[in-house]
């Protein structure tokens, strides 16, 4: 373990892992995670899969909102585009999932870029409203284009197949979702070491300055919408495989708000933050459910209060984080880590 910052070269400064120890730890963690299906119950496998899908979606939103500074309320809709594309390509055309998942991402990216066009002229509140409009337009399409989306009744998605092996059920699906999550997280982490990623951050910090420095603001804003929606589309595709049947009710506006909550609580502009936030927001209702179940014998009325309790705690968490830790859980994690690094001799 090193006890300070010894960055002597640009290479060291840009490195993802500070030490090979950290890299080893992560590999160990992933190995442990990949063994999870052997130990977790059916219920917690389902939660784990939903966490991983939420991690992908939150990372996508963080690329757009946290790193490029373009707020979006259209995430639930982009998720829907990914899910319905999966239903179409896998169900109607019978393509294998290795093709379907990237295609769903691309479809979502295209739709995201179309609704990103107003971002050329709009920012802040106006952009939020424009993406909100995108949500309602796509929701309308999903519930009325019966030929493709199955309308309000929904549409079923065939299970993913690898050769003759069916990837159905939470345990098997986990081995499809986990590698994709890791791959996308790695890509996102690396994206911000490249010119494109740095352009995103420049636009977030000051768009006019970025333009002056030679960053093509419109091009990179659109690109950011594209990359972000691609992530969300892939998440939607996995969600479709996970849910088997999708209908417009799977993608209400609250999903988009939940995802904004994830990146605010986790940390805007931080990949690690999206992971923390997604885990927190997905696990919160499950923990509450277990807790209310345990307490139901002593306080029978608690069961009725479950839904309001969930939204209440969700809102409270967002407000408290905005007040006391605007940089989210990722910043807290960082300060805890630096504290323990030199623990007894911090000065």
């Amino acid at each position: 373990m090193r006890c300070g910052d010894f960055r002597e070269t640009y290479r060291e400064d840009m490195a993802i892992f500070e030490t090979s120890f950290a890299r080893g730890l992560l590999v160990l963690f992933l190995l442990a995670l990949s063994l999870a299906p052997a130990f977790l119950s059916f219920f917690w496998m389902d939660v784990l899969n939903r966490i991983l899908i939420a991690v992908i979606a939150a990372t996508g939103l963080n690329i757009l909102t946290g790193f490029t500074g373009q707020i979006s309320l259209g995430n639930a809709a982009f998720l829907a585009v990914g899910a319905y594309s999966t239903a179409f390509f896998a169900g109607r055309m019978g393509l294998p999932f290795l093709l379907v998942i990237p295609l769903a991402g691309v479809m979502s990216a295209l739709v995201g870029m179309v609704f990103g066009i107003p971002s050329l002229r709009l920012k802040g509140l106006y952009l939020a409203v424009a993406t909100l409009a995108a949500h309602f337009v796509i929701e309308f399409t999903a519930s009325h284009w019966d030929g493709v989306t199955g309308g309000v009744n929904g549409i079923s998605v065939p299970a993913a197949k690898l050769g003759g092996f069916q990837l159905d059920g939470d345990r098997r699906l986990f081995y499809l979702i986990l590698p994709i999550t890791v791959l996308l997280l790695l890509f996102a982490k690396n994206l911000f070491r490249t010119k494109t990623g740095k352009a995103f951050v420049a636009i977030r910090d000051q768009d006019i300055s970025a333009e002056v420095m030679g960053v093509n603001v419109f091009k990179y804003k659109l690109l950011s919408f594209g990359v972000s929606s691609f992530y969300v589309g892939v998440a939607g595709s996995l969600l479709a495989y996970h849910a088997n049947i999708i209908s417009p009710e799977n993608f209400p506006i609250t999903v988009a708000i939940d995802q904004l909550g994830m990146i605010i609580i986790g940390g805007l502009g931080s990949i690690l933050g999206s992971i923390f936030g997604a885990v927190f927001i997905t696990v919160l209702p499950e923990v509450l459910r277990v807790a209310t179940g345990e307490l139901a014998t002593t306080f029978p009325k608690l069961v009725d209060l479950f839904a309001p309790l969930k939204s209440g705690i969700f809102g409270l968490a967002i407000v408290l984080f905005l007040l006391f830790e605007p940089d989210g859980m990722a910043a807290r994690w960082h300060s805890i880590r630096t504290y323990w690094k030199l623990y007894p001799f911090s000065y």
């Binding site: 709009l122 106006y126 409203v129 424009a130 006019i208």
Partner: protein
Amino acid sequence: MIGPLPVSQGYLYSMASVAVLLVLFSAFFKYTRAGIAMRATAFSQQVALSMGVSVQHIFALAWSIAAVVSAIGGVLLGGIRGGVDGAFAFFGLKVIPVVILGGLDSVLGAIVGGLVMGILENLAGGYLDPIFGGGVKEVAPFIALVAILSLKPYGLFGKVKIERV
């Protein structure tokens, strides 16, 4: 009954209260110290601060006025629809196209925007619903919204913000 048109009492009361409120607010923003201070804060918080306006108080005031006005709207709406339910929460989303069309910082814009959007909604619902099989009424304002935002982002009566470098 107004002439040959049957109009329910609820609508008449609503219209009367809306008219009173509009006059009150126009006067408030134009003539009172608090109203002018609010507009100054909206224009530039820093300049308002340096002119002795307590921005903190203005924000508190703005939030409470907004809440009171929304509550009045809720009471009127409840009177018209004859009941209150959870769907009221989504009504807040429906006003967004209205204020964007009119311009965010214009009281007149809110009236004109409300009328235009209401008519658009019902015309779209009436003519297009048979083609698309229902639901156009809810989504039409948002389609219009995208067009407005692309063509005239600050609405009909909103103040155009110009960025110069």
